[in-house]
Each structure stands twice: as structure tokens, then as C-alpha cells.
Amino acid sequence: MTEMMLDIRNLKVSIPTDRGMLNAVRGVDLQIAKGETLCLVGESGCGKSLTATSIMGLLPRYARVTSDRFEMAGQDLSTKTDAKLAKLRGRDVAMIFQDPTSALNPTLTIGRQLTEGVMRHEKLSRSEADARAIEMLDRVGIANPAARLTQYPHGFSGGQRQRIMIASALMGRPGLLIADEPTTALDVTIQAQILTLLGELQADLGLSLLLITHDLGVVAAIADNVAVMYAGRIAERASAVELFAAPRHPYTKGLLAAIPVPGVTRRGSELPAIPGRVPGLIGTMQGCAFRDRCSIAGPECANDPVPLVSTGQGHFIECVKAAEVSV
């Protein structure tokens, strides 16, 4: 049994709204082993960002969070106070964001933003912290790092800013890095560079990486394992190779079918799309959330609970029609 970096069972996140309780995350299980890259995939509003934010302990005050188990590197986080969680952030777990331009404070120098975390956590002196910042900037591919510590974010390009964010996240030498759509705001060539960089760092440092994305191209490039999220639950979980080769859940199949393949998809032909739309998440839900859009749904899909079915080594789907699907 490999050592677990993150072990979450039955995570639920609800947000009170004017129209009722928005149950955004409805019982998610997530396990990430040490050194594993897990991609959490899903469309906007499926709860993947909230899942990540709850791991960071950065959910808004009014959000309601419950779980049966919430462990990071063997520590139970569910019983920790806010102040204790703050000590873990930046140290055991760090996060990078979608838009590096807005994630760096425009009024503080790069050096200040890189070093402020470790100077607090590890009581490093300014020169020690600066030395580590230079090392990290160098590592993420920022040229002439020592001179750039005194510069402000607006002096850097978008790709460089994301590199700086990654360096900032790695300053505290965390075991788990959460990347929330780290390439969405960048242009395509820079996306590839950032993904390559993340992959290299992950391998070199033995990081566990939780990468949130709606881009299956990103998944194919970097993931060991994939969890596909739909309407606040994990619909399918498998190794990346297996998921692309043999998707089992009707939702995953629909997602993969919607990707045009050069040379295969005929020019001018209509891409297949999943009919219908994502169900509203306010209030409680009976049965499988995907059944209204599912081509193989039957009456039994309306029953609770939807069974978790294993369809092979480390491959799970949440689907009652699994037997038919797995043919």
C-alpha cells in the first residue's frame, strides 16, 4: 500500500443562497498517493474548485463543510482550528491559481511575495529566504533571478508570472500542490511550457499534484490518475491511460467523444455533444445526477444510493448500469 498524501472521504460542501442550500460538493472521495498526479476533471460549476478550496481550508465563512475523513500526510485536518490550518498552508499544501496576473499582488515586489510565507513558517532570515527565492525562481526558469526579486509583477509576462506563482507555492517545500486550472489564462505555447514545468517539478521533488482542469488535453499530458467530476460527485476514477482507452461512465464517454481528433474527425462534420444541461444543485437530489442526459438510463437510475462499481484495477464508476456499460 502506497503512502497517502491526501485522503478525503465523503466530502460535502454546501453554500446557503437566497434560493436554498446549494449542495455543490455531494460526497466526494479523493485519495492522492505521495508523488501521484491526480487530475480532477469536470465542467464549470461541477464543484471541482470548491473541493480544492476546501482542502486549502480557504472556503468562505458561510460555506458548510462535512466529511467522514479528511487527512493530509497522516494528519486529521477536520479537527484543526483555523489558526492551525493556516500553519499547514504554504508548508504542507500549497496552491496556484488560474490567473497569475490577479494572483500576484501588484503593489509588492516579487521577492517580498515569495519570501513572506517561509519567513513566517520557518523563521528564516531575510537573506536565507531570499536565497531560497532565488533558488526557486531559477528552478522554474526565471532568468537572472537575483536581480528580479526587487521587481513588481507588472514587469513580467503572463507565463513568467505563472512560473513565479509556482516558485512561490514551492517555497515552503510542500508535499501537496494544488493547481486550479493553472494554464487556462495562458496562451497555448505557454500552456505547454507550464505543464512541462509542473511535470518536471513533480517528478524531481516527489510532489503530490492535484490538478484541476476542464481541458482533457492537459490530463493526457500530465496525469497519472483522473477523477471525473459531475454535479458534485466523482463519476469515474481511473488511471489516465485506462480512462482514455476505455472510459466506462456514459458522461466520460460523452466528454471524450466531444473532442475533435485531427485526421479522424471529418472537417465540417458536427461534433457529438452531450444533450441537455447540468442539473441545478440547489436542494437534494435523488439517484444519478446524469440520468436525464444519459443515453442508457433506466428506471433504476432514480434510486439512491448510486452504486460504486469497480470495473478493473483502480477503475471505478458510479453507475448502476455498469454491467451494460462495461461490455
Binding site: R91, M95, S102, N105, E116, G117
Partner: protein, 306 residues
């Protein structure tokens, strides 16, 4: 940064020139100043004599250059009514206005900024609602009415403070309260909205993700960005507090600049009015320039090429 400051100062200088020309022109917009000085019953010969005596017969440009030249050497002319130098009259009055304005401004800032921050941390919390009540009432209640009520309650009924004048420091208490109450709402609302915007940004989330404690996130990351709009507003507010306290000075019988301007207008003492307008306008120029420089210190993006 240096090039930013020198550019900004150059602009300020141009504004000063424009302002001086405008305040000089004010002398002539209400008609022939010589006739105004001679009074309603003045004869044409009197007006002519005055015109020569005050130099109104010279070309306008000469008069302007003469006036601006003396102003630069600290001579703002003679008061027509008192026949003493304008600088002397203003010098006697400016202290009261500056004291009242600056103290009110500081009181307003000290109350408005923390209240705005606290309100932004918990929008719709009880403190936010309390702050909203303060803001709405502060903007809705006219300061002359509030001033009069304060005099009635604390000066007349309780007798805690003098009801008029500024012979002792206690005389400033009520005017400062009323004037700062007038300034608080805007300062507080802009702090609150700036803070709410900044707290929702990714860099505040990123700062929290680094594990910084909340007080550091607020003071180092949020406040610095949230006060940028506040600085510009505060400069204008301070200008208003220093120049616009005519009502307050009248209600509390304080002999400050605002009251002097009002009295001089009634007396047609145009050199005094002109000088007050010039001084207050220049004050605005100085304050907004300082605000711009302070903002550039706070936000490196405003400095241009660095």
C-alpha cells in the same frame, strides 16, 4: 519615480497659472471694480480717481503680471475695506481654519478607515449595518442643523463646551465633531468598497494560501491596495474641509478664512476675496499633487517606466 514626480509638478505649475489667471479675472466679472469700490452713490469723477489710484486704467495683462508678480513676493495687495495688507488679514484668520480643517480631517480618517475595514470584513454584519446608519445619517443631516443642535444640547443645556468662538481649545470640540461627521461617510464607504473588492481578489486568496495570518493578509496585502482610491478622495476632502467650512465657521462664530471670504464679499473687498480664492485653489493643487505622488509610492504601476 523621479520623472513621474517632475512631470506631475510641471502639470501642477500649469494648473497654478490657470488658477491665478481665473482668480484675477474674478475681479472683473462683476463689472467695473472702480464703480463697485466707489459705491452705489459714487460720482463718475470718484470712480475715475479710484481707477487711476488702483491702476485699473492700465491694460489687463499689465495688471495681471503686476498682481502675480507681487503675489509671488508675498504681497497680495491692500484690503480696500481695512486699508491694511491682505496678507495681514488672512494671516490673522488662517490659523483657525487650518486647525479646524486638519483636526477634523484626522478625526474623520481615524474613525472612517477602521470602520470601513471592519464593515468590509463582514458585509451585512452588525458592524456593517451600524456603519451604514452612520454614513446615511452623516450624508442626510445638514451640518448647519447638526451644529445648531449640538450647540443647544452640549453648549446650552449641559454647558459642557462654549457655544461660540475659539478662544479656548474647548471651542473647537463641537465644530470638529460636526465637520468630521460630515467627512466620515464618503471616506468610510470608499474604504469599505475598496476593501471588499480587494478581499475578493486572487492575490488575497494567494496570501492566505501561503498561510499568512489574517491580520497580515489585511494589513500587507489588502489595505495597501484598498487605500488607493481613498488617497485621492481624502485629498479632495481635506481641501473641502479647509475651504468649505463657511457654514460651520458661521454657526460656531469662528473667525476663519471661510467667514472672512463671506464678510469680504459683502463688503466688496475684492482683493481679499481674490487672495482667498487663490490660496484655496493652490491648496487644492498642492493636495491633489501630493495624493498622486503618495499613490505612486503605494502602487508601482502608477510610476510609469521605472
Amino acid at each position: 519615480m523621479l520623472s513621474f514626480i517632475s512631470k506631475r509638478l510641471l502639470v501642477a505649475l500649469l494648473v497654478c497659472l490657470t488658477v491665478s489667471a481665473l482668480s484675477f479675472g474674478l475681479m472683473f466679472v462683476s463689472g467695473d471694480p472702480a464703480i463697485a469700490i466707489a459705491g452705489a452713490g459714487g460720482r463718475a469723477e470718484d470712480a475715475e480717481a479710484i481707477r487711476v489710484a488702483y491702476g485699473f486704467d492700465r491694460p489687463l495683462i499689465v495688471q495681471y503680471l503686476d498682481w502675480i508678480g507681487s503675489a509671488l513676493t508675498g504681497n497680495l495687495g491692500q484690503s480696500i475695506y481695512f486699508n491694511v495688507p491682505v496678507t495681514e488679514i488672512i494671516g490673522n484668520r488662517v490659523g483657525v481654519t487650518l486647525t479646524l480643517g486638519f483636526i477634523s480631517f484626522l478625526v474623520a480618517l481615524v474613525i472612517a478607515v477602521p470602520l470601513g475595514v471592519a464593515a468590509a470584513l463582514r458585509p451585512n454584519g452588525w458592524l456593517d449595518r451600524f456603519a451604514l446608519v452612520i454614513a446615511v445619517s452623516g450624508q442626510a443631516i445638514p451640518s448647519f442643523w447638526l451644529g445648531l443642535m449640538a450647540i443647544v444640547v452640549f453648549g446650552v443645556w449641559y454647558g459642557w463646551v462654549p457655544i461660540s468662538g475659539a478662544d479656548t481649545w474647548q471651542g473647537y470640540i463641537l465644530p470638529v465633531i460636526v465637520l468630521s461627521y460630515y467627512a466620515i461617510p464618503e471616506l468610510m464607504r470608499i474604504t469599505r468598497s475598496g476593501m471588499i473588492d480587494v478581499l475578493a481578489t486572487d492575490y488575497v486568496r494567494a496570501a492566505r494560501a501561503k498561510g499568512l495570518p489574517m491580520h497580515l493578509v489585511i494589513s500587507r496585502h489588502a489595505l495597501r491596495n484598498a487605500v488607493l482610491p481613498l488617497v485621492s478622495l481624502a485629498a479632495v476632502q481635506l481641501g473641502q474641509l479647509l475651504s468649505g467650512s463657511i457654514v460651520i465657521e458661521s454657526v460656531f462664530a469662528l473667525n476663519g478664512l471661510g467667514r472672512l471670504a463671506w464678510e469680504s464679499l459683502l463688503r466688496s473687498d475684492l482683493p481679499v476675496v481674490q487672495a482667498i480664492i487663490l490660496i484655496l485653489s493652490l491648496l487644492y493643487v498642492v493636495l491633489t499633487t501630493l495624493a498622486d505622488i503618495l499613490n505612486a509610492v503605494l502602487d508601482p504601476r502608477l510610476r510609469g517606466n521605472s
